[in-house]
């Protein structure tokens, strides 16, 4: 299974956390498509806390965090 966590404006109209069934080859792009999140709304795409490419295949058990552009301080 792959756990996807959404934050900030990406939560609007969606759950905060969504689980995806793992299959070989599943990647970030697939997940964004399923969640109807346009790529340009994604500023940070983390897999297990590290920056990750949308095209790279994921592993079973990965935890994904997706953020829109954010800053603060």
């Amino acid at each position: 299974m792959i756990k996807v966590k959404l934050f900030a404006t990406l939560r609007e109209g969606r759950e905060n956390e969504i689980d995806f069934e793992f299959f070989p080859g599943i990647n970030g792009r697939f997940i964004l498509e399923k969640l109807a999140i346009p790529e340009k709304q994604v500023a940070i795409f983390l897999v297990n806390g590290r920056d990750y490419s949308l095209d790279e295949p994921l592993s079973d058990g990965d935890v994904i965090a997706i953020f829109p552009p954010v800053g603060g301080g």
Binding site: K5, F7, A8, T9, R11, N16, A43, I44, L46, N48, G49, R50, D51, A65, F67, P68, P69, V70, G71, G72, G73
Partner: protein
Amino acid sequence: MYGYAGKILRINLTNQTIKVEDLNAEWAKKYIGGRGLASKYLYEEINPKVEPFSPENKLIITTGPLTGTSVPTGGRYMVVTKSPLTGAIACSNSGGFFGAELKAAGYDMIILEGKAPKPVYIAIEDDKVEIKDATHLWGKLVYETTDLLKQEYGDKAKVLAIGPAGEKLVRIAAVMNDYDRAAGRSGVGAVMGSKNVKAIVAKGSKGVSVADEQKVKDVVASKIKIIRENPVTGEGLPAYGTAILVNIINEHGIFPVANFQKAYTPEADKISGETMAKTILTKKHACFRCPIACGRVVRLKDGKEVGGPEYETVWSYGANCEVYDLNAISEANYWCNQYGLDTISTGATIAAAMELYQKGYIKDDEIAKDGLSLKFGDPEAIVGWTIKIGKREGLGDKMAEGSYRLCEAYGAPDLSMSVKKQELPAYDPRGVQGHGLVYATANRGGCHVRGYLISAEISGIPQKLDRFSTEGKAEWAKIFQDLTAVIDSLGMCLFTSFALGLKDYVDLMNAVCGTDYTEETLLAAGERIYNLERLFNLKAGIDPSQDTLPKRLLEEPIPEGPSKGVVHKLSDLLPKYYEVRGWDEKGYPKEETLKRLEI
């Protein structure tokens, strides 16, 4: 002079004299205004070795050339003095409305000298300036002080005040304005207290004259458009405030937990900006002429509607004390505002005390009288100790000295998560190498707003940098530090820099002031300011060996979470940083650098 009021108010409290002087235009050209220009005045006028609480120290309250104009976020003012917490030069920055009002009254800067024989406040109504008796205000909380002065001077009057913490020389006391905006850091409120000045009231009817009104209108409109269309300043900050960062920083595994013993918590979402927006948030707050409106207003459990906590505060009292309770955090924040305390240093000092207790340095019998626990995770403790620090009561008296002096008194200075004795903010530098370099070298000690590299290393603004790498970070640190010095000196809010770049600041400065800065010369002014602050510190006796981080962050790898296993590699970064700065290998600015910068 356009933009500038062109006048300084010099108030000698010992002799009770008030003088109006012309602003030194030559210095203004080189040091811009605000942070830069006030640092120049301080550098020229006091001996950097002076005891911070002595009458020989001065307290400068300054605006920038863009303060009080139509420039977006042009409401900032700064408090510049020698810090009683760090012994270094302090510059604490605040928004709200006071700064713009002071400018409208016709002054760029107030220089407070000496010490009043008894408590006073200063009333400024354009050309009428008076030193008034403040016996009736002394001891009062910030809100009541502000209300009383507004009753006397009218609602249009803007009030800057210290709370009981500043009066009692709490080394982490803030200068407050407009009730709950704070020039928070480095204990500037205690210096004001040491001078027996409780408050300053400003009421101004003069406008700020600009070089070319039509041009200012056009340039301002185009910059506001950039700010509004930017997803960070146009969407994220307005919707969620600065606490939007809680989840992001935590998901990267650099959210300090339990006084930096850990860097990740599964409970972060309980105190996030998203949760705040869904639960206690009642409205948003904008400072003077700010299109971003990152400020929060929240409702406490007891019904009070008050200024809400910023990201840093949510962290310092939240994860850092392991209290995942937004109501308790907001209440602690409220008491910081009332007593006039820096929320970062106060929360972090309580967290340090909690670790001292956890490790057995502070024993139960010592705090029995205080009736409060020092256990991580206790929501009552964070509120209770805040008030005790504000009153210097019980163990709160020792905590009022800040975490470094507290931990040192127990023989454990390494438990203070501070740089140059000032508490570090809400990012574990082990997982953000560049940001850690900025912590180690910030002129005012542990601080995140002297070069906010989180922007590049986490948010990817202006470009994404590998947060674990040391590559190129020395250069980035320098640029961020110099640009920040420019923004602070202009009198604008640093948050604009998520959307605006150097060129935009040049446009705004030139349109308002009729100057002919280029990107190169304006950034050079920032570099000049940074070096001047450095010189002040060196003369004050803060030698470069203090450009360091707490031992824990250099030696103990992050134990768990997404950044598990890393330490901060300061020794790889510092030599390069000194070189990029044009400082010698020991960290002293080289003769040729000072010459190039015309210092």
